[in-house]
C-alpha cells in the first residue's frame, strides 16, 4: 500500500497553502477533502444557472502577497481587485461614505462633524502604528516563552525588541489595543454615532463579542493589517469570487505534482505509539502517510479525528475550552437587476463597495444582546457587497451577485438545533432589513442561499460555524493560539500538525498559518525552505 509523505486534511486555503509548500519542498503530498469541491470557506459555487457565489468568505485583503508570489498564483488565474471604501446608511435617510481620496474622506466625515473629520488622521496614525507592530509577526512562528531553545529565545527577544522599540506611549497603546473594547477605543477619537459605527464593525466581524466587549479593539486591527498590492488596509474582490484563490492554489499544487482527493471525508486520524500514521476515510479506507497535517479547526482535529485517550489531559481540557463560538451567518443572493438605494446618489462609488445598515454602536450591541439570549439578531449587522459591480465573471451582464455577511447568528436557537424554518426566518430578517433601504428589492431576487452556523459547520466543517476557527481575543493569540505550549503547529501526537486558522496568526483568508506550519514541518524533516520567499519588510 502506498504511503504518502504527508496527508493534508481539508482543502481550505490554509490546507492548500501548506500542501503547496510541502510538495514544492519535494514531499509527495495528498490532500483529502470531504466535499466534491475544494476551497473550504474560500469557495465560489454556482447554485443557480449563470451566477457564481462567494459562498462563505467574500472579500480579500489579508492573503499574504509572499504566498501569491511563491506559489505562482497569478499564473493560475488569481487576480484581486481593490474597491472603493463603503457606506453606512443612517436611519434618517442619509449615509456616511468612506472614500479612498483623503480629502473626500475628510469632507464626508465633516458632513457629520468637522472635529471627527480631522480626528481621523490621529486615529489612522495610531491604528497604523499598531498594525506595523503586528504585521511582521504574521509570518513568524510564535515563540514558546517557556522554551529554552535558542530559536524560541531568539524569537522572544525579537518580539521584546519590537515592543521596546515602540516607545512608552505606543507600548501603552499596544496593551490597550489588545485588551480594550472597540467602543471605548473609538470614544477616545470620535463623537458621532455613525462614524463610530463605521469603524466598530471591523471590531466585531466574525467574533462572538459585542462592540462593548473588551478585546474587540484587536479584532479591528486584524482586519486592518492586510493589503492589496502594497496599499495597506485596502480590501478587494478576488476576480471570480473567493474560490479563485483556492482554485489557483489547487492548480498550483497539482502542477507541482500534488494529489487532491475530493469526496474523501476523514473519519479519524490513525495514531499508533503516539504517532500519526495516516487517516481513515468514511467508508473505512485507510490511507497511510509519514505525517498528517490538519486544516480542520483545533476542536474538530483533536476532539473528533483523534481519540481522547491519545491526548494529555491538560491539553485536552484546553482544546475543549478554546473559544470558538458561532456568531455569524451568510445570505447569498442572485439578483436580476442592480438594486436601488434611494439614500445613495446613483453614481456613488459606495455601490461597488461594502454597505451597512447599522448606524450606531448601541444598535450593534443590541444585536449582540439577542445572540446572548440564543436568538439571531432581530436588527442584525450586515456587511453587504455586490462584487459583480466590479467583477463581470460572476453574473450575466446587468445581473448581480450580492453577498451579505450577517451578525449575530447563534450556533443553536435558544438551546435547540436550527430547523429549516428557523433558517428561512433568519433569511427573512436579512431581506427585510435590506428592503427597508432598497424599495423593490424582493422583486429582484432570483435565488438565495441562506447559511446559518448549522450549514457552515455541516458543509465547511467549521465548529459552530466560527469563521476564524477560534475567536481572536488576546487570550487566544500568539503563543496561546490555540493552546499554550502547542502554538508552533505541532501537537502532542508525533507527526500530527495543525495548519488552520485556529493557529497563529489566526483567521481570515490569509494563508499565513498554512505557510508557517509548512516551515515548522520542513524544519522537523530537516528540509530546506529556499522555496519560501522571506516575509515582506515593514519599513
Amino acid at each position: 500500500m502506498k504511503s504518502w509523505d504527508a496527508i493534508v486534511v481539508g482543502a481550505g486555503h490554509n490546507g492548500l497553502v501548506n500542501a503547496c509548500y510541502l510538495q514544492r519542498a519535494g514531499l509527495d503530498v495528498l490532500v483529502v477533502e470531504k466535499n466534491e469541491w475544494v476551497g473550504g470557506a474560500a469557495v465560489s459555487r454556482s447554485l443557480t444557472p449563470g451566477f457564481l457565489y462567494s459562498n462563505c468568505s467574500y472579500v480579500c485583503s489579508l492573503f499574504r502577497p509572499e504566498i501569491m508570489r511563491d506559489l505562482e498564483l497569478p499564473k493560475f488565474g488569481l487576480q484581486v481587485i481593490s474597491y472603493e471604501g463603503g457606506a453606512v446608511f443612517t436611519r434618517d435617510g442619509d449615509y456616511l461614505a468612506n472614500y479612498r481620496d483623503h480629502h473626500a474622506h475628510r469632507r464626508e466625515f465633516a458632513r457629520f462633524s468637522r472635529k471627527d473629520a480631522e480626528a481621523y488622521d490621529r486615529y489612522a496614525r495610531d491604528v497604523t502604528r499598531q498594525c506595523r507592530f503586528i504585521q511582521p509577526l504574521l509570518m513568524r512562528t510564535a515563540p514558546d516563552p517557556t522554551s529554552l531553545k535558542p530559536r524560541d529565545i531568539g524569537e522572544l527577544l525579537y518580539l521584546g525588541r519590537k515592543f521596546a522599540g515602540l516607545g512608552a506611549r505606543e507600548m501603552a497603546d499596544t496593551l490597550r489595543f489588545w485588551t480594550m473594547s472597540i467602543s471605548d477605543f473609538l470614544d477616545e477619537y470620535f463623537e458621532t454615532d455613525v462614524i463610530k459605527a463605521n469603524f466598530a464593525l471591523s471590531g466585531i466581524i466574525g467574533t462572538a463579542l459585542g462592540p462593548m466587549s473588551p478585546g474587540t479593539a484587536y479584532v479591528l486591527l486584524h482586519h486592518y493589517m492586510g493589503e492589496v498590492d502594497g496599499s495597506v488596509g485596502a480590501w478587494g474582490y478576488a476576480r471570480g469570487g473567493m474560490g479563485a484563490i483556492t482554485k489557483a492554489l489547487a492548480d498550483s499544487f497539482r502542477a507541482s505534482g500534488g494529489t487532491i482527493r475530493t469526496e474523501a471525508e476523514v473519519e479519524r486520524i490513525l495514531v499508533g505509539n503516539g504517532r500519526a500514521g495516516g487517516v481513515v476515510l468514511a467508508g473505512g479506507e485507510e490511507v497511510r502517510a509519514k505525517l498528517v497535517v490538519s486544516n480542520a479547526d483545533v476542536k474538530r482535529t483533536f476532539l473528533k479525528f483523534v481519540e481522547e485517550k491519545e491526548l494529555p489531559d491538560i491539553f485536552l481540557r484546553r482544546v475543549k475550552n478554546f473559544r470558538m463560538r458561532g456568531s455569524s451567518g451568510k445570505v447569498n443572493i442572485a439578483l436580476d437587476s442592480m438594486p436601488e438605494f434611494p439614500a445613495l446618489p446613483p453614481d456613488s462609488p459606495c455601490l461597488r463597495a461594502d454597505m451597512h445598515f447599522t448606524d450606531s454602536v448601541e444598535r450593534m450591541e443590541r444585536a449582540y444582546d439577542d445572540w446572548k439570549a440564543g436568538r439571531w439578531s432581530a436588527d442584525p449587522f450586515l456587511d453587504m457587497v455586490i462584487p459583480t459591480t466590479l467583477d463581470p465573471t460572476m453574473a450575466p451582464p446587468g445581473k448581480h451577485f450580492m453577498s451579505c455577511f450577517v451578525q449575530y447568528c447563534p450556533p443553536k436557537v435558544e438551546g435547540r438545533d436550527w430547523t429549516d424554518a428557523d433558517r428561512d426566518a433568519f433569511g427573512e430578517t436579512v431581506i427585510s432589513q435590506i428592503a427597508d433601504y432598497s424599495p423593490g428589492f424582493r422583486d429582484r431576487i432570483v435565488h438565495m442561499e441562506i447559511r446559518t452556523p448549522r450549514e457552515l459547520e455541516a458543509e465547511v466543517g467549521l465548529t459552530e460555524g466560527n469563521i476564524f476557527q477560534g475567536e481572536l481575543t488576546f487570550d487566544q493569540l500568539l503563543f496561546n493560539r490555540p493552546v499554550p505550549g502547542y502554538a508552533q503547529y505541532r501537537s502532542p501526537i508525533g507527526g500530527l500538525y495543525i495548519c488552520g486558522s485556529s493557529t497563529h496568526p489566526g483567521g481570515g483568508v490569509m494563508g499565513a498559518p498554512g505557510r508557517n506550519a509548512a516551515t515548522e514541518i520542513l524544519r522537523d524533516l530537516k528540509r530546506g525552505v529556499k522555496h519560501m520567499s522571506p516575509a515582506h519588510d515593514v519599513i
Partner: protein, 411 residues
C-alpha cells in the same frame, strides 16, 4: 468653549455630492483657470492649486523683480475668538501671546505633551479678543480638546476666508495704485484693514519669500473683485500670478521651512522616531520659558534641554557645485551618515547651491568641517554620483533690505 458644526439632515444632504469633485476650487479659481497655460495643478489640502502657470523659472523672477500673486486660500485657517482667546493661545503655543499686540502677527508653533511639534504657523491678532491661526495641517480636535476652561470660540474658516500673497519689490506699489491708502505705514508683521467692495480686506506685511510682500485676506465672496483690483492696479508694476514651484524656490532662499516637507508633524508621524521638538527644526527661538505658567510641551522641552538638547538640528547648508541635492544623504568625512537634505535648490539670487538639512546635533554647528553630500543626479537614464563638500551656513541664505524697509520702496 464653543465650536460650530452644521449637523442637521438638510445641511448634510446638501453636502453629499462633494464626492464628484475631489479637488475643491479656490475662490479665485476662474482667474487661475484662465491664467494656467500649463494646466499644472497639485493638491494643496484638498484644493486644486497651481504648481506652475506659465513658466516656473520666470514666475520666480516675478517674485524677485516685480510683484507676484500666489493664492493662499487653501491654507488652513481658524478663527479663535473670545474673552480668553489670548490666554488659550498662550497655553497652546510656544511664544508669549500676551506680547502680541492687536494689529500684529507672529510666527509660532505648538507642541504635543511630549514637546513634539504639531505644526508651525502664523498667528494674527485681529483685535484684543480675535485671532486667526494659519497653518499647514488641520488641528480642530487638538484646538477643541485644549479649550475646556477657556471662554473661547473656535471655528475653521478655511473655506470662507480667501487669501492672496502679494510678494516682490513692487508689491507695495501695486497696493498703493489699488488705492489702499495708508498701507505704506505697515511695518513687517503689522496688520491693517481697508475697505473693499461691500466689506473689507485685511492686509498684513507678511509672506513666505523673504522679500517685500503682503498677505491679503478677504471674505470669499469678495475674492474675485480683490484679484481684479490688484491686477488692474498692477499692470504698470509687472504683477503676475505664480504657482508653487516658484514660491518654493523663494522660500528656500529665505530659509523658511514647510511642515511635512522639512519635518514630520507629530500627529502624522507613523514612525515614532520621526517626530521633532522645536529645537530640532530651528524653532527653538520661539520657546518662551519666561512666560509664566504652563504651555503645552513645556516640561518635555525643558527636560530635553537639561539633558543637552534633543538629537537633531535643522540648518542651512551650502554645497559645492550647482547640482541641487534634494533628499541627498549628508556624510561626515564621506563615511558616517549624519543627516538628510529636505529641500535644495540652486539659488538664482545668491548664486549658490543651497539646502535645508536635518543633521545629528553634533554635526550641525556652524563651521563643522568635513561634511559631504552625496548627490545622485539622473542624467539620460544614468545616475551621476557626486560627492560634494558642504558647510553649515546661517539662514536666511538671502537677506534683502527691501523686505523690512518702512516705508517700503517704490521700485
Amino acid at each position: 468653549m464653543r465650536h460650530f458644526d452644521g449637523k442637521c439632515l438638510s445641511t448634510r444632504r446638501a453636502l453629499q455630492p462633494h464626492f464628484r469633485k475631489l479637488k475643491l476650487d479656490s475662490p479665485f479659481q476662474p482667474r487661475l483657470d484662465a491664467l494656467n497655460l500649463q494646466q499644472a495643478w497639485y493638491d494643496w489640502a484638498g484644493y486644486k492649486a497651481p504648481s506652475a502657470l506659465w513658466d516656473e523659472e520666470l514666475e520666480y523672477f516675478a517674485i524677485r523683480s516685480q510683484a507676484a500673486v500666489f493664492d493662499i486660500s487653501p491654507m488652513v485657517k481658524y478663527r479663535i475668538e473670545g474673552e480668553d482667546a489670548e490666554a488659550f493661545l498662550d497655553r497652546l503655543t510656544l511664544r508669549d501671546v500676551t506680547k502680541l499686540k492687536p494689529g500684529r502677527v507672529h510666527y509660532t508653533a505648538w507642541c504635543d505633551d511630549d514637546g513634539f511639534v504639531l505644526d508651525d504657523g502664523t498667528l494674527f491678532r485681529l483685535s484684543p479678543t480675535r485671532f486667526r491661526l494659519c497653518c499647514q495641517e488641520r488641528h480642530l480636535p487638538w484646538l477643541l480638546d485644549s479649550a475646556p476652561g477657556f471662554e473661547v470660540e473656535i471655528e475653521e474658516e478655511t473655506e470662507t476666508v480667501a487669501g492672496l500673497a502679494l510678494q516682490g519689490p513692487t508689491s507695495w506699489s501695486v497696493l498703493n495704485a489699488a488705492g489702499f491708502a495708508g498701507s505704506e505705514k505697515l511695518k513687517p508683521f503689522d496688520i491693517a484693514s481697508f475697505p473693499h467692495a461691500d466689506g473689507e480686506v485685511t492686509i498684513s506685511r507678511t509672506g513666505f519669500t523673504g522679500d517685500l510682500g503682503y498677505e491679503l485676506f478677504v471674505d470669499a465672496k469678495n475674492a474675485l473683485p480683490l484679484w481684479d483690483r490688484l491686477f488692474e492696479a498692477g499692470k504698470l508694476f509687472g504683477v503676475r500670478a505664480i504657482g508653487y514651484h516658484a514660491l518654493n524656490t523663494a522660500r528656500i532662499e529665505a530659509g523658511l521651512i514647510v511642515a511635512n516637507a522639512d519635518f514630520v508633524t507629530a500627529e502624522h508621524a507613523i514612525r515614532q522616531d520621526r517626530v521633532r521638538m522645536p529645537d530640532e527644526i530651528g524653532l527653538g527661538f520661539m520657546v518662551d520659558l519666561k512666560k509664566p505658567g504652563y504651555f503645552n510641551g513645556r516640561h518635555a522641552i525643558e527636560n530635553a534641554r537639561k539633558k543637552g538638547g534633543p538629537a537633531h538640528v535643522l540648518v542651512g547648508l551650502e554645497i559645492e557645485g550647482n547640482v541641487p541635492a534634494e533628499h541627498a544623504i549628508v556624510y561626515h568625512r564621506k563615511t558616517r551618515e549624519v543627516g538628510l537634505v529636505s529641500a535644495a535648490i540652486w539659488s538664482p539670487l545668491a548664486k549658490r547651491n543651497i539646502a535645508i538639512v536635518s543633521l545629528q546635533r553634533d554635526y550641525g554647528k556652524d563651521g563643522t568641517a568635513d561634511l559631504w553630500v552625496e548627490i545622485y543626479a539622473m542624467r539620460e537614464l544614468q545616475y551621476v554620483r557626486l560627492m560634494k563638500r558642504a558647510k553649515v551656513v546661517p539662514r536666511p541664505f538671502v537677506k534683502l533690505d527691501r523686505r523690512a524697509a518702512t516705508p517700503p520702496g517704490a521700485f
